[in-house]
């Protein structure tokens, strides 16, 4: 029997096997955003345990948004295969009434995750309240800083950095709020760690349906 074909195929297998342990298929095919209803995650920051859970969807600006509670802090996300968008609202309080200046969705993450990716989204709007012009700026920057293998998840974990700035300009005041946040994502789990002003939150338990 002529064994040349078998030798040729075995050679391909050998060459293929040598260089393939780099997890690129895991990063390509894996789901880093399993934010589906009833899924939850528990994080511990050294003092408190914060529960993040996906609740019933809510219609926001005419679109059905996923409600994600970060320990009671509700976020409204539009999750598609293209991006994760988050609802932002900036209001100006005057005479006991809250006037919304910005109500919109901004791009939080483009999908899928690729190392080195950087995106900046900004929204600018203004309204007239009692004859005065009030302007609001919203700027959000996201950067996929890279990925690193984590043995506890047996997966490549992406590190994403976020910077957010909200600014309200009125004739007598300027209000600026900034937020820096780091999130770490594992395939099939979602956020395994996040760092913000409240501390370094490590995933201690989770449920993925």
């Amino acid at each position: 029997m002529d064994t040349k074909p078998i030798h040729a195929i075995l050679m391909i297998v050998l060459i293929g096997s040598i260089g393939c342990d780099n997890r690129i298929i895991e990063r390509s095919a894996g789901d880093y955003f399993p934010f589906k209803k009833d899924n939850w995650w528990a994080y511990y920051n050294g003092q408190d345990t914060i529960r993040v859970e996906v609740l019933d969807p809510l219609t926001v600006l005419g679109r059905e948004a996923v409600t994600v509670s970060f320990g009671g802090d509700f976020r409204y996300w539009l999750i598609s295969n293209k991006a994760v968008e988050e609802y932002v609202e900036i209001v100006y309080c005057h005479g006991g009434t809250a006037y919304p200046i910005i109500e919109d969705f901004y791009v939080r993450n483009e999908r899928p995750l690729v190392s080195g990716y950087y995106f900046r989204d900004s929204i600018l709007d203004s309204i007239m309240i009692a004859g005065i012009k009030v302007r609001a700026d919203f700027v959000f920057e996201t950067r996929v800083a890279g990925f690193e293998y984590h043995a506890e998840y047996d997966a490549d974990v992406y590190h994403i950095t976020f910077q957010m700035m909200k600014r309200i300009d009125s004739p007598d005041t300027v209000i600026v709020e900034t937020l820096n946040r780091d999130e770490y994502y594992a395939p099939g789990i979602g956020i395994v760690r996040y760092v913000d002003d409240a501390g370094d939150h490590i995933l201690v338990d989770y449920y993925i349906d």
Binding site: D2, K4, P5, A8, I9, I12, V13, I15, G16, S17, G19, C20, D21, N22, R23, I24, I25, E26, R27, S28, A29, G30, D31, S80, N81, K82, A83, E110, R111, P112, L113, V114, S115, G116, Y117, Y118, F119, V144, D154, A155, P187
Partner: protein, 159 residues
């Protein structure tokens, strides 16, 4: 005892379309084109070659390119036959100008319909195209259309 050895070489060109069925939920579909040889060993026909796959994402700023060194084989002499193949792939996934590169191992299998009109053979294949890094796997189901032209066009007989 008389043995019959058939040995001929043909150039093979193929292309096709794939849709993700395992993983790759961000991929819209895949298209590919390949160029290779067809070596007839009698009982089996072997297709070594080069192949390029392009997988555009649902996000039109995302795509995967795969450049492959392939080897496939099918049963010689059968109009309908099983088809199996293996490949080593250099893979590049890109989003908005940023890219990750890596290597993947590819396995594919399915069925083939072969229409012979010497010196041209026409193929229609239904294939599962699996990609793995030996930690995770994903796969596409697709069809492939190809033809081979036999430049040598002769048979060698050994006794």
């Amino acid at each position: 005892m008389i043995t019959l050895l058939c040995f001929c070489i043909a150039i093979n060109i193929d292309g096709g379309y794939e849709t993700p069925i395992v993983g790759f939920s961000n991929i819209r579909h895949g298209v590919h084109a390949g160029l290779g040889a067809e070596i007839d060993f009698g009982a089996v026909v072997v297709n070594p070659g080069l192949r390029m796959d392009y997988y555009p994402g649902d996000n039109n700023r995302y795509s995967i390119m795969s450049y492959e060194l392939t080897a496939a084989m099918y049963k010689g002499g059968w109009v309908i036959s099983p088809y199996v193949g293996l490949a080593g792939s250099y893979l590049k996934r890109s989003l908005a100008g940023n890219a990750e590169i890596g290597y993947a191992f590819i396995y594919r299998g399915g069925g083939q319909l072969k229409i012979s009109m010497s010196p041209v053979n026409i193929y229609l294949r239904l294939l599962y195209n699996g990609l793995t890094d030996f930690d995770t796997h994903g796969g596409f189901l697709g069809y492939q259309f190809g033809f081979a032209y036999d430049f040598v066009g002769h048979e060698q007989y050994g006794y």
